[in-house]
């Protein structure tokens, strides 16, 4: 499943578009500690986090993650978006909390992987 389809299916709002790459369960990581996120970030990774602020900008600038999903309809930091667009990193906001967002993403990707 491609990232755009995943976000659409889960009503996740898109604020910055990146490369529409395929995503699998193994490429999704959720965490609220920068070191955890750094450790699991790579090209093709979708990070899910409650964190906001300049450190997300650094994640985008420094380690080239594919997508960052914020939670609970949090307002997206505006300074994040130009850098995200430039680096082709998705910035999206889920209407749900961390646990529920992860669960829904897992469910959709699991179903997709069973079909394929």
């Amino acid at each position: 499943m491609k990232l755009a389809d995943l976000f659409h299916e889960l009503h996740i709002e898109v604020y910055a578009h990146g490369h529409n790459t395929p995503i699998t369960q193994r490429q999704v990581f959720a965490g609220d500690r920068i070191s955890d996120l750094l450790q699991h970030s790579s090209e093709g990774t979708l990070l899910i986090t409650n964190l906001l602020g300049s450190h997300l900008l650094r994640l985008v600038e420094l380690v080239d993650v594919s997508a960052i999903c914020l939670l609970n309809r949090q307002p997206t930091p505006v300074e994040l978006l130009p850098s995200a667009e430039k680096n082709r990193t998705w910035i999206v906001v889920s209407p749900l909390g961390l646990f529920e967002t992860c669960g829904r993403i897992y469910e959709v990707l699991q179903r997709e992987e069973q079909i394929s």
């Binding site: 450790q39 964190l51 650094r58």
Partner: protein
Amino acid sequence: MTRFSYSIMGGDYENGGSASRAVKAQLQRAGVDPATIRRAMIACYEAEMNVVIHARQGQLHAEIEDGLLRVAIEDQGPGIADINLAMQEGYSTADAQAREHGFGAGLGLPNIRRNSEQLQIESVVGQGTTVTFAVRLKSAQLYGNVRHSIRIDAASCQQCHSCVRACPTQAIRAFHRAPEILSYRCIDCTECIAHCPSQALHMASTTWDVRAPRTTRLVVPPEFLAQFYGRHTPQQVHQELVQMGWQDIVLTNSWLEALRYATHELAEQQQFIQPLLTPVCPAVMNLIAWRYPALLAYLTPYQTIWETISATYSAERITCVVMCPAQQSLLTAPEHSQVETISAIDLRDELLSRLPDESPITSLPANRKHTHPSSNQELTITGVQAVMAVLDALECGELSDVAMLELWACSQGCFGTPLALGEGHILNYRWQLRSQASVVLAGVRSRQQPLQPRTGMRLDDDMQQAVVKLARIDQLRESLPGFDCAECGAPSCAALAEDIVLGRARLENCRHQKKNAEEHA
């Protein structure tokens, strides 16, 4: 050697990471590959944030030498009482403010250790700490950093090695579960994609999202439209594209014809070395820059149509339909950041889902002449093997009777890309039937800097070592059977010998060699 230093302020969470960002810019400038940069950035950022979190101030010193990035971060802070304890995962002395910002996982130093080499920590309690580490940049230093847009889906790979055999530049190795691409050799042609029976090789994803079109102008190559002409009318396709949100559909042939016209004018002047090579196909340009650098002088001093189109619409976001990985790599370069790209496959599938199943074919324009002046000294070659044969001939000075050369990596030019639906000759025929009698010429744009040769592969930074490795390769090649069967995962025995010496493969990868050894045992 390149050296640089940056200041870091304790407690400045807003600007924390700026020094690492500056190091990243230096590494990118040096042509280091993205995976190595990512490792270096994790180590740098963790070390820099340790200063922000724990110290009053500090400095980051970095130097690039002998294929190594060496970083020293010294701070004036409280120091570390027990370094062994600090190295344990989960141990942290970060305060509440740091934890609020998402730090304090106790993974900082372990992350540095994981992503670097030669980590050393010196600390005096009450005075400060110095953390030094290195990141090896060897691969990028030796092979150069070349972006390409061919991707491999390991799960779909049947390990048939068709791609290994098909690649005209021997850029693919399959020693492990899935093939790997040696980026310094890849020219972004589509041979591997065309030969893969399981679609494990494909073009990198594009930025387009059907539900959120963000541009009103779509740039379309005729080769894309020709796919529909057996079943749908041009009007139907145009109408659907407008329905999808693009109010202005621009065809690329205006730029292509302009480029041909300008090249023809140059050829007429006879002031340039001939035959003139028209820069029509980015994959062929990659090939020339990598394998035939002496022929770069034959390229006309114009940009490709994609670069010209991007410059024409530099003030607005546009969407370009890309027919191959070479176009995708070109348009996703940072200087074309206002350009969105759509894979020809994705847009075709979307259009086919919207268009009616079958439609009558409309009447065709009767007059189908080309707009650029024709010349009997123009030679157009398509298909990468034929292109290489012609470039070999050109290198040997055998084309003195040709004034202009137009070379395309795919058979029938972009009509033959494996990303198109249908056979290239048929698509070309259908387009010629339906194309307008004349095309309004768009502009051409001069290339500011001549195209540079690609960094070739060096066996070693140290010339003495390189000579030793070369001798070892020759020796190994003699001992291999010379079947060039590609069963080992390398395209030829010579390539396997080189891979063994460079540590990418082992002698046991050759099944014939292994069998011989077992028989003699």
